[in-house]
Point group: C2
Chain length 334, copies 2
């Protein structure tokens, strides 16, 4: 059973005030009496909490017998307020969700529902890592540790081109009216999935044919049954919404830092573990390392893997899961 936290008249960074914003979340484990065992685990692109909770198990990466873990669903992901569940959002021109919006809603949820003002850890992969960095900069006194896997605090130009190609792929479909989809964008999904597949795994992943060991019978089979099927499950309006959040990701785009990126990163007090994947094509290790240098208490620990971006969410990927599990365990003990 999931939980719903409602925020009335919730002001968004884009200028819109949502009459009723909903934040859907799930918790795992038990909050201890002094509220010192809280891990926040924000969601990644296209994902809902049910896609990410696999790693919450005593023998996996986050142990719910020791920690109280909360997954807040990102705005736009189809569970929390999203184009698919709000005509208001969809109809609005110039509408977008920012991570500032996500973090503000999460902060209110934690404080009002659980009385939590201190996070032992924010753990995030990809767009989850973006949110972790935002937490560290926006609430620098409340976050003890951050583990940021395969993500940056500000979206790079190259990454933006990838996102623009995805956005353009969906909206090139004949069903796109200019403001919404009038039907299922069959052609758009096909392009979208192939762009994603070419960027989110590495060249080496395909050279080694790793997908065969996962039960796929050919490259086409893998592209269709894994990549295309995964995104076809999602409302295309939501896919656009989350792209816009990602495109606009900038830890310093807020009243506190006013565009001063270095200052925002320098303000992070949390012990921060920066874990890119060595073969990530859009959150490159170089970009992650550059940010690690700007964060006072950061440690740079790349995942040596041929899984590309997906190394940071190592479902069905035991070597990378083991590496991350051990890194997380050691980091939490410090």
């Amino acid at each position: 059973m999931t939980h719903c936290f409602t925020l009335l008249n919730f002001p968004l960074q884009c200028g819109v005030i949502l009459p009723e914003a909903q934040l859907i979340y799930q918790t795992y484990g038990e909050l201890n009496s002094d509220r010192t065992n809280v891990i926040l685990y924000p969601t990644s692109y296209g994902a809902q909490h049910t896609d990410l909770e696999w790693l919450i198990r005593p023998d996996r990466i986050l142990d719910p017998t020791r920690w109280f873990i909360i997954i807040p669903n990102m705005f736009g992901n189809g569970l929390s307020s999203s184009p698919s569940n709000s005509t208001y959002i969809l109809a609005k021109d110039g509408f977008w969700f920012s991570h500032l919006d996500n973090i503000h809603a999460q902060e209110k949820l934690l404080r009002e529902v659980f009385g939590i003002e201190h996070l032992a850890l924010v753990y995030g992969w990809s767009m989850g890592a973006q949110q972790a960095y935002h937490w560290g900069a926006l609430y620098s006194d409340r976050v003890e540790k951050i583990i940021a896997l395969c993500g940056t605090a500000r979206t790079t130009d190259h990454n933006k081109i990838f996102l623009m190609s995805l956005r353009s792929a969906l909206t090139a479909d004949p069903t796109w009216t200019g403001t919404r989809f009038d039907g299922i964008p069959e052609r758009g999904f096909k392009t979208f999935a192939r762009i994603y597949a070419s960027f989110a795994a590495s060249q080496e992943f395909y050279r080694e044919g790793l997908y065969y060991s996962l039960g796929y019978t050919s490259l086409e089979d893998y592209l269709y049954r894994f990549w295309e099927a995964s995104y076809r499950k999602r409302d295309p309006h939501n896919l656009l919404s989350m792209i816009d959040t990602w495109l606009n990701c900038d830890v310093s785009n807020n009243p506190i830092y006013q565009g001063n990126y270095q200052k925002a990163l320098a303000s992070i007090k949390a012990k921060t573990l920066v874990m890119p994947a060595t073969t990530d094509l859009y959150f490159t290790p170089e970009d992650c390392q550059n940010e690690a240098k700007m964060i006072p208490n950061a440690e740079y620990l790349p995942i040596t893997s041929i899984w590309g971006h997906r190394a940071g969410n190592p479902y069905q990927n035991h070597p990378d899961e083991t590496f991350i599990r051990e890194a997380v365990r050691d980091f939490l003990l410090r």
Copy 2:
């Protein structure tokens, strides 16, 4: 003035016989009396000979006062037989040009028009490199040297996904009827250009903002005025045709080698200079190096550059042009 070589009843690898195939070519410099100074310089994706001849100058990469240089336009590029200039080709289902077709037509041109049966060098970048490898394997006794920049003899799986995304991008457009475009695919071109821009230059290229030094005022300006404008100049049917040639590129897919890739590469007798770019995202240095190991007389010399794939066609890129010019000069002296 360009030249046209006509091939009557020209059989293609896909099974179609073209009643009249046309190979448009241009020459530079003079053929010497013993025909020992011939350089063949096949075209790359989307390019016509006028796009590539900039590097043919005494002070640039190929010196026309010393060499007789021929640029044969690849089938599908809009000058030689292409969907845009032949209703026959466009209407034909299951139609595609192979590099075997390109090389067969080029061989006939060289022999029948010029009496050339010996090539001092085949020089090619990208799809031009693919053709150079085909020459080396299909006419191993006739090619003395090969310089293959940023290309492989067989298209890798990862590269195929990039190509499938490009193909899907164009054919997602509302103007696509299933067999042809009924109008200009405005949406398709937009996606196509952004996919290309994200893959054909490197992450570092964008991180350093190199396009500003080329006169572009913003990322969007660069994407539109350089990438999108470059492809909008081309007939979208031709863009699909050349993608199909690239997708099907395999130096061993012919009656001589019958799919034996290693044997095809091992048969190349030419001294071969394999020059990938260190940051090429689809013709990766690893893939090029793997092929170099299978070619008996190959030397591996990567171009250290942040220009990505485009390092191998260094227009407006003086450091890489200098590196290639000097490598070519040394290689031709041996």
